[in-house]
């Protein structure tokens, strides 16, 4: 095959172009920190990285939702712990009032404190968090319980659900009628009855109130156990999501991030190749028979 200077020149410029193209691709990878800069660089890698990104985005949102659920349930838990204190105090007072050493006058004095506890329970039952009534179901703009003597539940049975994982929801509220009433009457009603019994010195009524308060405390304990279980579940899920997040981010980084050490060594390799190409090219192009025909 005849080789002409045109062929040699073309071959040389092409090889230089190829080398420079590789250089530009490599330095682009270094600059962006990513080895996939266009979908066509690595189609299957691109597909994987998009999948990871979708999952990571979902997980981030779930984590956000979980912390939202956490604050709601935490708030309800704090309210319930206050309710426990109030009811325990009321039971102590009822027990004290039920003893024979008390007379109508002392019972009336105790009644004042019970009235106070009754109002406190109502306030707790009508707790507001971020301007929402926590125990009103969906009717978050309505007071959960009306004023005495009825203390009627004014909310509904709506459960505000938050998405905590793929296809998994959790209710972050408990409708008030499931919390503040037992055996058909609300805690406030029971306390109100106790108050009336103390005023009227109805000792049988006071005895009955102790049983009611015991039931109420049981009920509160149940609710708190429920809330506690939900909070635990959220905690577990949070650490689970956290570790999924880390794993996915590692995968994502492996798929799309540049291996810096490898890229730099590739660059020096290409640089060397380019340099030798330039040197040999310069020598080859200056070679000609004409140089020797003088």
């Amino acid at each position: 095959m005849r080789i002409t200077s045109f062929t040699i020149f073309n071959q040389l410029t092409r090889s230089l172009h190829d080398g420079l193209r590789v250089m530009s691709r490599l330095s682009n990878m270094l600059a962006s920190g990513k080895k996939i800069n266009n979908p066509s660089d690595d189609v299957s890698g691109m597909m994987k990285s998009m999948d990871y990104k979708v999952s990571i985005n979902e997980i981030e949102q779930y984590k956000k939702n979980i912390s939202e659920a956490d604050t709601h349930l935490g708030f309800a838990d704090i309210a319930m712990s206050s309710v426990t204190n109030v009811l325990t105090r009321a039971r102590e007072l009822a027990l004290q009032a039920s003893t024979g050493t008390q007379n109508a006058q002392t019972r009336a004095a105790i009644a004042q404190e019970v009235a106070h506890l009754r109002d406190q329970t109502l306030t707790l039952a009508n707790s507001k968090f971020r301007n929402r009534y926590v125990f009103s179901g969906y009717k978050t703009d309505t007071e959960s319980f009306g004023p005495g003597p009825g203390f009627n539940y004014q909310g509904d049975a709506g459960e505000v659900k938050v998405m905590i994982d793929k296809n998994a929801n959790m209710a972050v509220n408990i409708p008030g009628d499931q919390v503040f009433s037992v055996g058909g009457s609300t805690f406030m009603e029971s306390l109100d009855n106790l108050y009336n019994d103390l005023i009227t010195d109805n000792q049988a009524g006071i005895q009955a109130a102790i049983t009611n308060l015991d039931n109420a405390l049981d009920q509160v304990a149940n609710v708190r156990a429920d809330i506690g279980a939900r909070l635990n579940h959220l905690d577990d899920l949070k650490s689970n999501l956290e570790s999924r997040d880390v794993t996915l981010k590692t995968f994502l980084s492996e798929t799309e991030d540049t291996d810096i050490a490898e890229t730099i060594s590739e660059i020096s390799k290409t640089e060397l190749a380019l340099q030798s190409l330039r040197q040999s090219g310069a020598e080859m192009l200056s070679q000609s028979l004409l140089n020797f025909l003088r």
Binding site: T4, I36, P39, M47, S49, R132, T140, G158, V160, S288
Partner: protein, 540 residues
Amino acid sequence: MSLNGLFDIGKSAIFASQTALNVLSNNIANVNTPGYSRQEAILEVARAVQIRGNSIGRGVGSVEIRRHYDNFIHLQIIGQNQSYGRSYSLDRGLSHIEQIFNEARDLGLGNPLKDYFNAWQDVSNNPEGQPQRTALLQKAKTLVQTARQMESDILGTLKEVNGDIGTIVNNINTITSNIASLNDKIAQLEAGLSTQEASYFRDERDRHLNALAELMDYTWYEDTNGRVAILAGGRSLVSDAKSFSLTTQVDVDGNRNVYLRGEDISSVFHRGQLGGYIAVRSDIEANSLHGLRKLTASIVKETNILHNSGYGLDGSTNNDFFDALQVYTKEYSSGGYISSSTVTSSAALTLDEYSINFVTPANYEVYNRQTGALVTSGAYAAGSPINFDGIEVIVDGAPAANDSFLVSPLTNLITNMNVAVADTQQIAAASSNATLPGDNSKALEIVQLSQSGIGDLGNATFDGYYQGIVTDTGTMSKAALDSLTYDDNLRFELEKKRDAASGVSLDEEAANLIRFQRMYEAGARIIKVTDELMEMVINL
């Protein structure tokens, strides 16, 4: 044989070496001329004379100036140029589109889509919260704007492709008219002197044929007079000394089509830049543009269906979240027209495009343009509605046989797309008509959309369908780039082969220069010696 004969031999050597030197100087001068074919003076012994039974040569003559040329390689180069041209256009069009969907740099619909559904989750976490609702409207608007930007970028690329088709056709016309005039010159020259080819004109014509091959696919042959005929899809473009111009015309879809003598011949081009652009145009339309529109339409449709059934904080219901889908129609008919087209049930929409074809003026058939399936058919009555897949179209007037109407919920979707909800109170997070600010169940249903398979999208999720578009775009762009590299390398190899046969080697010419210089010198010496011999004879 006389002494005088020696003069002739010497003279012939001088003349022949002069001719050879002329030819090789011209070679040297054209060492860098693209497409130049090396020439060589072919020397031959001048007719010998018989002298007493021996034949003695009478010097040398240059019988021919031969052009070094390999027709087979030339044919291969033309074929390869056609492939190269196609790959070039495919790569050019698709690398553009790829950037529009470049999720590697977070360009495209990926993030706005995630943000939109995340905003719905935030609303579901805080159904009464104003900030979350305002944020949702913002994210929805970003989604709309991004889709609109992407669509206009895709349409811009298509417009560029169509513009390029016009430019290429102009170039083709220039080249074919040049070839036609070269045909004429070559035929005239070669008819006069059959042994001598019109090398320069042939080289020039070859260059034109190569350039034409990069632009379009054609078949060609050379007739006995040295003229080439060029055919595109069996239709003559160049014949003898005549060339026929291609013209272009923009059709109703905005596509520029190629016409020859009044006939649309766009479909005969498969290779060359022209064939490449015509192919890439339909690739982009069928994949990127249609995919983007269908995805967006599906988001609008599914969100609206749920949102319509929900209730806002103000108790309002039956509100569209995005502007409702509308039907776009286009008429390919002179007698008939569409008097109204409406969406009767958005839930029944398939998000495909349809054409209503009139087989005869009295009967219509409705075809799904994506699946090709016959949707419905019937007898035509002017002004009476045609119903299919949630669409009602009323055709009026007198359509003729083979008239057709395009019916599509997609074409103008993104252009007309807007967030319909203006008042944050109207965002329907609740699914009950009692005004319940804490009710987030509808918002949760809408959130679920992002994780469930959508029937219209072949049971893919929104994210999944979008990933499909991106991957398809990436795969097509990668394939185009690969074949461009391959075709380029192959073309280079062929050019090397052509160069091996036809290229000028300076070393070779330098050696020949010396060779013919010596020949000239020796020829001159023959004359001198003969002159001395003559003198000697005269002085006897």
